[in-house]
Subunit: 227 residues, 2 copies
Amino acid sequence: MQRKAVVLLSGGIDSTTTLAIAKSQHFQIHAISFRYGQRHALELECARKIAAHFHVEKHLIFDLDFRKIGGSALTDNLEVPKLRELSKIAAEIPVTYVPARNIIFLSITLGWAETLGAYDIFIGANVLDYSGYPDCRPEFISAFENMANLGTKAGTEGNRFSIHAPLIRMTKAQIIQKGFELGVNYSMTISCYDPSPDGKSCGSCDSCLLRKKGFLEAGIPDPTVYR
Amino acid sequence: MQRKAVVLLSGGIDSTTTLAIAKSQHFQIHAISFRYGQRHALELECARKIAAHFHVEKHLIFDLDFRKIGGSALTDNLEVPKLRELSKIAAEIPVTYVPARNIIFLSITLGWAETLGAYDIFIGANVLDYSGYPDCRPEFISAFENMANLGTKAGTEGNRFSIHAPLIRMTKAQIIQKGFELGVNYSMTISCYDPSPDGKSCGSCDSCLLRKKGFLEAGIPDPTVYR
């Protein structure tokens, strides 16, 4: 029987590449996305198309209102910073930081994985472009894995959970090259923190800047429609 | 300024006693409860009254649909076991186990705590009566604390989160005695997994059996209305 995996799928470059990697390792894929009060629902639309494209076994969209716990430009009405220096993006914890977001996403994913009998969880966390996000660092990923194995029935009964973060030390360019080799069509993905209602990317938020630079350095044409 | 704490409040004996303990330690209390698709909403009603009684600064009720991730008699339509041996309750992981429940609850609490600037989180986890629940063990609590400090902005910037589980090694009788000393009125709390619509406890599920035994051993009259 095919081993099951659960992939966290946001609809961006990193999670889509991660899904393609899990698929290439012959897992039966379950994908999970979160409707968490993000200011644009566009990324969930992308996640849906990507899940369908990759023929995942099941795609779960889980509702969770982060606005209730507050504290970030991605869910509150703070302004998304534009045209920042890339060195600053890497060094600081930005206002777009959502408190404990990956911790919460991974925890819910863990609950679903335990129900499914899936002991491999894939997340597109990446430390290089976002070194400012503490929940994207390798030390965090392994601390989460350890906690998960102590705090679940499956973990304590001998089915060890593995948290895979295959992109963790890759640059955006390396990620894009890897996805390109695996046949990922990045026009299905979205990165922008502040897209227009018709789905065009702003081209100047942290996430757009990193995306542009990634395609440039990878030497692969950027299929994104910027406004 | 008073130090802030967040208390996970389910409306049962353990979380209510934990709240009273945090209050006695002079924290400014924020309470969080979860509407997670439990089969009875009665415990949220109890949580509301308890939060008001203790004059908490804020009581957040967070919605989260556990039915989507499945796997438990508390949220699915499995039958709640009745009149089991107490030794069995302590030894097994019961069907009422909800996959990763405390992990998910603690993660969301952590996100809210970070937004509030509260670095003390109190949970009524208890290893003796429920040794079958992996997410009630001390090793799990300290693994979670470690993960939380690696995975949050506050944790990495020098504000260490502490996860307090003051009841972790207490018997139900000791918990009830402690709460009694602190003036807790246990008639406001509910333990039953399967109460009648008018709020009466069944008296025979695992949770009712442990409650009855606790009052008996504490030598304190049980104020619960059993049907």
